[in-house]
């Protein structure tokens, strides 16, 4: 049944409307239809009195007048879902942004829905192999888990995300859904081109609500992408990699919406519903009995302050964190993941196994010692270290070089074919380096290789 009404006030993207009889429920979608102009969609956030509702528009309200007709079917906003979305770039409404044909399929899913019940969720018991050595060893991901990528501009965040998508699509035989929230449009375009170049776009859906969109759209775009991903997971039983860039922008959009609604701000001006808003999004990202879902989320840390309320709340949902380091990137060691700063809840002997755990602890010890000695080496030189420290530093340097890896998505820049390395091989290789079996090999020999098996039989010093 269509509920009809009219616009009574427009302030920015806050639209108030009067309905005859029943008001559309909170969370329902509404469409304002200004005469001679494109319709303006919004979402109901409040009921002012028995006949008036307040909505936040998800599109520009330019051209909207008081008295313009409004209609609602009382249902949440919906987005097209299904296999025809694969290879496409869409916005919040499912409109094609890639210049392709419009998506007018039958299947549409609501943006807002409750998270899967506990009984249908799948416990995250085993590690998910990314094929990226440094991640699999130091901060492994689990099926149904969420990992965050922290890092400033230019340290290779997008490359890691893209390689992740590539490897996940290849290994999971599944699909990837990318939610672009509040970031620059140029970055979205670059990602789209990169995925096309790598030949994985045909198994990927990009859903964008970038910086230029109104806060209402940026706040909902994550839910739209999630609705698309949930369809693949629950209806088609496929494994899904759900990538979000950037979770902080989602929180920021929520803060703007909250301000527009006149809610009392909470800590540092964040919305009072910060925890609930994050839970709405994060709780739905999980593996179910029907299909697997792994999520990788880029998180901007304001002023590098990890105690910011948005960051502390987001941390609660993460299973692992990959910290990209500018220092490591400056040394040309890619992926520039800092193994000592990154962490994972999956680093449990029950999940990764005893051997992996032992090798990991020893690798951390060696890299940590190297970290301590770096300034001393730069002041005095290697030859002034004790024999034991020299050996430790040599092995740490070999380890750091070993953790570089040719990526599929960078083949065109490096000219080197991409490599995926099974986790058992990584653990075995790292154990070999720590045991000194590569001490006679030059450090450069281990740079940008897949596994140690690739090395020449005779060591080359260098």
């Amino acid at each position: 049944m269509k509920l009809r009404g009219e616009v009574t006030s427009v302030r920015g993207t806050v639209v108030e409307m009067r309905f005859e009889g029943v008001l559309p429920a909170i969370g329902s979608g509404v469409v304002c239809r200004p005469e001679g102009r494109a319709p303006v969609t919004g979402e109901i956030y409040g009921h002012n009195d028995v006949v008036t509702a307040r909505a936040i528009a998800v599109e520009s309200t330019r051209g909207l007048h008081r008295g313009d007709p409004v209609e609602s079917d009382g249902e949440p906003l919906r987005v097209p879902v299904g296999p025809e979305l694969l290879g496409r770039v869409i916005d919040l409404h499912g409109r094609a942004l890639d210049g392709g044909p419009p998506l007018d399929g039958e299947m549409r899913a609501p943006l807002r829905r409750p998270p899967p019940p506990a009984g249908s969720r799948r416990a995250s018991g085993h590690a998910y192999e990314t094929g990226i050595k440094v991640i699999d060893l130091f901060c492994p991901m689990v099926h149904g888990g969420k990992a965050a990528v922290f890092g400033g501009a230019g340290v290779g965040k997008t490359i890691v995300l893209t390689e992740f998508i590539h490897n996940a699509v290849e290994s999971l035989k599944g699909v990837a859904v990318f939610a672009g929230i509040g970031e620059r449009s140029r970055e979205g375009l670059e990602l789209w081109e990169e995925l096309q170049r790598r030949g994985v776009m045909d198994r990927t859906v990009l859903v964008f609500g970038q910086m230029k969109e109104p806060p209402g759209a940026r706040f909902l775009i994550g839910f739209a992408a999630l609705a698309v991903a949930e369809h693949f997971r629950d209806q088609e039983g496929r494994d899904v990699l759900f990538v979000v860039d950037n979770v902080y922008r989602y929180v920021q959009a929520g803060m703007e919406v909250s301000g527009l609604l006149g809610r009392m701000p909470s800590r540092v001006g964040y919305q009072p519903t910060l925890a609930a808003d994050l839970a709405d999004l994060e709780e739905r990202i999980t593996a179910t009995q029907q299909g697997n879902m792994i999520s990788l989320q880029a998180i901007y840390v304001p002023a590098d302050d990890y105690s910011d309320p948005a960051i502390t709340h987001a941390f609660g949902y993460l299973d692992s964190a990959l910290v990209l380091s500018r220092d490591i990137a400056t040394e040309g060691l890619y992926p520039a993941i800092d193994p000592l700063a990154s962490w994972s809840k999956a680093l449990d002997v029950e999940i990764i196994g005893r051997r992996h755990d032992e090798v990991l602890q020893e690798a951390r010890r060696v890299l940590g010692r190297y970290q301590e000695l770096r300034d001393i080496i730069s002041m005095l030189g290697m030859e002034e270290l004790s024999a034991e420290d020299r050996q430790t530093v040599g092995r740490a340097r070999r380890l750091r070089n070993y953790f570089t890896q040719p990526f599929y998505v960078t083949e065109s820049f490096t000219g080197q074919p991409g490599q995926r390395v099974p986790i058992e091989t990584t653990v075995g290789d790292v154990a070999a380096i720590l045991d000194g079996r590569c001490d006679r090999r030059g450090e450069r020999e281990l740079f940008m290789i897949g596994s140690l098996a690739e090395l020449a039989k005779e060591p080359v010093r260098g």
Binding site: G269, Y306, E372, I376, S386
Partner: protein, 276 residues
């Protein structure tokens, strides 16, 4: 004073401390390099002098005589080296226990108290060397003192107890026998000279040997001490960095609370004003 201001002051203090420790670290690195650089040349010269003693006397060995063993303990006078002095004192006391109650000469005031605690009073105490530049002025009178003690029969053998360098931050307290001079292998004896008597030559060369052996040991000890101080300063700097980061986080949290309070006050006041 507000908590925020206290934290700002603490941050400034920590930053100043970090600068001071950083400067100390750089100084240690410089002294370390200065001590390590001449070591190879000094060792070569010591071997040469030892060889010349051999040429003088066939083997170079000074004749062993029964008598008290003297000890020169090379400790440190500056801090930030952990248990450096304590370990050396321990080694010197152990040696003294084994070799009899000969005179103990101490380089470094800091060793006097632990020695006194063990009931040992040094025959002489001199400041410990802090840089290579100061070694010469320290060594010349020390060698003279040792030789006169030997002449007077107060010591027949001499040991140096000092730190042996084993890498930056790593050292082991060692005993270095200096007198009697260990024999050098198969050297032809020098023909007698009408210009200079063998006894005079022997005295001069033994003095030189003693001087260069002490110099070498002191260089090693300096390198060990400054290496240890460098590593300790580095650890202190890392700790200070962590403290600064933690204090910054705390200050940021307090600032956040303050700004939240201000935002709330503005909002509440605006609402109250709009109701009037």
């Amino acid at each position: 004073m507000s908590r925020e201001r206290v934290l700002q002051r603490r941050l400034r203090t920590l930053a100043t401390l970090e600068e001071a420790v950083g400067a100390l670290r750089s100084l240690s690195a410089q002294h370390f390099r200065a001590a390590r650089a001449p070591l190879a040349a000094v060792r070569a010269y010591r071997d040469e002098v030892h060889g010349f003693l051999g040429v003088l006397e066939g083997s170079g060995a000074t004749s062993p005589r029964e008598g008290p063993a003297g000890i020169v303990l090379v400790a440190a006078d500056l801090g930030l080296v952990g248990d450096y002095t304590a370990r050396l004192v321990h080694e010197a006391l152990a040696l003294r226990e084994e070799s009899g109650q000969g005179p103990l000469l101490c380089l470094g005031q800091r060793a006097v108290a632990p020695l006194a605690k063990a009931g040992v009073r040094p025959a002489a105490v001199q400041p410990a060397p802090t840089s290579v530049a100061g070694l010469t002025s320290l060594l010349l009178p020390l060698v003279d003192t040792l030789l006169s003690l030997r002449r007077d029969g107060e010591l027949e053998s001499l040991w140096l107890v000092a730190a042996r360098f084993e890498g930056a931050g790593e050292y082991t307290p060692v005993r270095v026998p200096v007198l009697p001079v260990a024999p050098a292998a198969g050297l032809p004896r020098l023909a007698s000279s009408p210009y200079c008597g063998a006894e005079y030559l022997r005295t001069v060369v033994v003095r030189e040997y003693l001087y260069v052996s002490l110099y070498e040991t002191l260089l090693e000890a300096l390198a060990s001490e400054h290496g240890k101080r460098l590593v300790t300063a580095e650890a202190a700097r890392s700790w200070l960095e962590e403290r600064i980061e933690a204090t910054r986080r705390l200050a940021a949290a307090i600032r956040r609370e303050t700004s939240t309070q201000e935002v709330l006050e503005v909002v509440v006041a605006a609402r109250a004003a709009s109701r009037k």
